[in-house]
Amino acid sequence: MKSLAELQKIKANMKQRIVLREGSGDIRVVVGMATCGIAAGARPVLNELVKDVSEEGLSEKVTVSQTGCIGICQYEPVVEVFEAGKEKVTYVKMTAEKAKEIVEKHLKGGQVVEEYTIGAYQS
């Protein structure tokens, strides 16, 4: 170890991994992972979300976790985004590609992707 910069580099690399243990970020992204969700393909969605959040450097702000059946099995895979002070956003019939878009536009850019929300499907 010859410089503080070297130390900083290791720290920055590791921080992404450790931050998971500090629990709740400002935004919580929850994937429905009951039998219905898994059968509909929730796992690739979850994995894509985790990967993209980390790659985009959003780990300190966004916590990705899973939950049980939300009760709208026909719309699985379901992803919900909770943000303090804002209304919950529910995305339905998710795929890995859509998940990527949501990380890009919603979690990073702050723009809700209306066309994938439950509202768009029900109307």
């Binding site: 010859k2 130390l7 590791m14 629990g23 009951a34 979850l46 976790s65």
Partner: protein, 608 residues
């Protein structure tokens, strides 16, 4: 990509309750479910709640599982990790809490009563990082303090920060750490040393072990900082061979630090060299005394020597040496990073910062707790410790192990710091806190600690070697029912004599348990001597077992349980009963208590 991490406690407590098997089962189950790439298992140091081990925490949600057995793992993996449904029956709920509070399942660990009043400085990384991975330590600001010290500060500035922080030695005596360093620094010598005292010998204390097991790198970092401050290039960690996990992890940590160039030559390109070695102690209590410890490192018999000269002037290999306890070192990196004012803002006027206590004895939450100085004993026992089990009454708490004394119920609201404890005749000690309930005999406790110190006296000086032995004989006389009131005065006199005349800290503090119990529980001593009675029902020779002949239903279970054939049937049939009652032959009775245990339902047998 890892989406979830499962932290499994790898501290000694949880390892002995089976966390290794739990880990293996997790590996198997994750593979079975194809989750091995998504979920990472992390072995951590001690979380502090040792009585509830093995402990498993699942992140990012932070679900806290306690008492996890290998049989539970399949359920956790398939329900929680795969489907996101936490296994409610395994989730830790505050002990002693009413049902309604348990409805909130996802109680964050930091919100539980056990953790809420704690302030973790020395233990900040224990249970959070993988102790065998230097990168995780670095991610938690590890080695940043060493970097700051070597690149931005002079040795004098380092000593000033430590002095201003008010940090005092956590090994028990409470000597100001900054002053110790400051006394050593000006001494000119070709070689100086930094020694870490990890010879944690007090029965019931295990915080040093937990720090070494859970966060070994912070000790390495702190010792290097100390080395820079006093101008030493070599360090030794003297650790008990009875701590195999701690020794192993410390060894791994030292190797990793060397590989990264955080130990060795020209650290951070500053021209500063420092390296560390581990020395294993063979478990002699006296080797926790600093001069005996240094003799032991040198390869000599672990005997203490008179001070002065103090180690700061003439220590290891006759060179100036700074010796600090593990917990003291664990505070150093945080003090450097956050500043002296930050540290001094915690605690009381003369005792700054936090202190780790090993809670043990008659208490619900056995384990490690770190609290700001000045917290009262009541808060520790009732809030953090979860109270006394089985609805028993608190009687006293022993601090400082065999060198300390007991705090009786009347002083339970005393804010705990060095000076308050010394004022009531106890001492902080290394931080063992043994809670005793109404079933504990205080004379017996004093005898227990004397037993220990008599065994552990090194034999070099007469007051300790002979005096302690005589003290123990006098206590035996009292618990056997042969004591006189005169003995109590003699006991006190001998205690004071040993304290004043012993060579080292072992003898100077060994009579403390007797003095403290005599001071606060003299009535119990008097009961033993005058009434020949043990109020707590512990001292065997003073007990008699009797069967209430009118309560006895004549079932004969006690007679079967008695190993000495001391119980026989009489010809008395109590009114309303069909069978004749039993009675105990006092000459044959060995007072083992087996009959009472066998008569749980009827409760016809009592001891007095």
């Amino acid at each position: 990509m890892v989406r979830s991490q499962v932290l499994i406690c790898g501290g000694t407590g949880c390892v002995s309750s089976g966390s290794q098997k739990v880990r293996e089962e997790f590996e198997k189950q994750l593979e079975l479910n194809g989750l091995q790439d998504e979920i990472k298992l992390v072995r951590t140091g001690c979380f502090g709640l040792c009585s509830l081990g093995p402990i498993v925490i699942v992140y990012p949600d932070g679900t806290f599982y306690s008492r996890v057995t290998p049989d539970d793992v399949a359920e956790i993996v398939s329900e929680h990790l795969l489907k996101g449904r936490p296994v409610e029956r395994l989730i830790y709920a505050d002990t002693g809490e009413a049902e309604e509070t348990q409805t909130k399942i996802e109680t964050a660990l930091s919100e539980t009563k056990f953790y809420k009043s704690q302030k973790r400085v020395a233990l900040r990384n224990c249970g959070v990082i993988d102790p065998e991975n230097i990168d995780e330590y670095i991610a938690m600001d590890g080695y940043a303090a060493l970097g700051k010290v070597l690149t931005e500060m002079t040795p004098e500035e380092v000593i000033k920060v430590v002095t201003d922080s008010g940090l005092r030695g956590r090994g028990g005596a409470g000597f100001p750490t900054g002053r110790k360093w400051g006394l050593c620094a000006p001494n000119k010598a070709p070689q100086k040393y930094v020694v870490c005292n990890a010879d944690e010998g007090d029965p019931g204390a295990f915080m040093d072990r937990s720090v070494l097991e859970g966060d070994p790198h912070c000790i390495i970092e702190a010792m290097a900082i100390a080395g820079y401050a006093i101008g030493a290039t070599k360090g030794y960690v003297y650790v008990r061979a009875e701590y195999p996990i701690a020794v192993k992890r410390l060894g791994i940590a030292i190797a990793q630090a060397r590989e990264y160039g955080l130990l060795g030559e020209n650290i951070f390109d500053s021209g500063f060299n420092f390296d560390l070695q581990i020395r294993l102690g063979a478990g002699a209590f006296v080797c926790g005394e600093e001069t005996a410890l240094m003799h032991s490192i040198e390869g000599q018999r672990g005997d203490p020597r008179p001070r002065p000269p103090y180690p700061a002037v003439r220590g290891l290999y006759d060179s100036p040496t700074v010796e600090n306890n593990v917990e003291t070192f664990a505070n150093i990196p945080q003090i450097i990073l956050n500043g002296a004012e930050w540290f001094a803002s915690m605690g009381t006027e003369k005792s700054k910062g936090t202190k780790v206590f090993a809670l043990g004895g008659k208490i619900n939450n056995t384990g490690l707790v770190e609290i700001p100085m000045g917290t009262t004993l009541r808060e520790i026992i009732e809030d953090i410790g979860g109270g006394i089990p089985n609805g028993k009454k608190f009687k006293a708490a022993q601090t400082g192990g065999p060198s300390g004394g007991c705090i009786p119920e009347s002083l339970i609201d005393t804010p705990i710091d060095y000076d308050n404890l010394t004022a009531i005749g106890c001492m902080m000690g290394s931080g063992g806190l043994i809670v005793m309930d109404e079933d504990t005999c205080m004379v017996d406790i004093a005898k227990f600690f004397l037993d220990f110190t008599v065994d552990e006296s090194c034999g070099k000086c007469t007051p300790c070697r002979v005096g302690m032995k005589r003290l123990k004989e006098m206590l035996e006389k009292i618990t056997d029912g042969r004591g006189t009131l005169e003995d109590l005065d003699k006991l006190e006199e001998l205690c004071l004599y040993i304290k004043q005349n012993s060579l080292c800290g072992l003898g100077q503090t060994a009579p403390n348990p007797v003095l403290a119990t005599l001071k606060f529980f003299r009535d119990e001593y008097v009961a033993h001597v005058v009434e020949k009675r043990c109020p707590a029902g512990v001292c065997k020779n003073l007990l008699t077992y009797t069967i209430d002949k009118d309560k006895c239903i004549g079932c004969g279970l006690c007679a079967k349980a008695c190993p000495a054939d001391a119980i026989t049937r009489t010809d008395y049939i109590a009114p309303g009963h069909k069978l004749a009652s039993f009675a105990i032959n006092k000459d044959k009775c060995v007072k083992c208590g087996a009959c009472i245990a066998s008569c749980k339902k009827i409760k016809a047998i009592s001891k007095r």
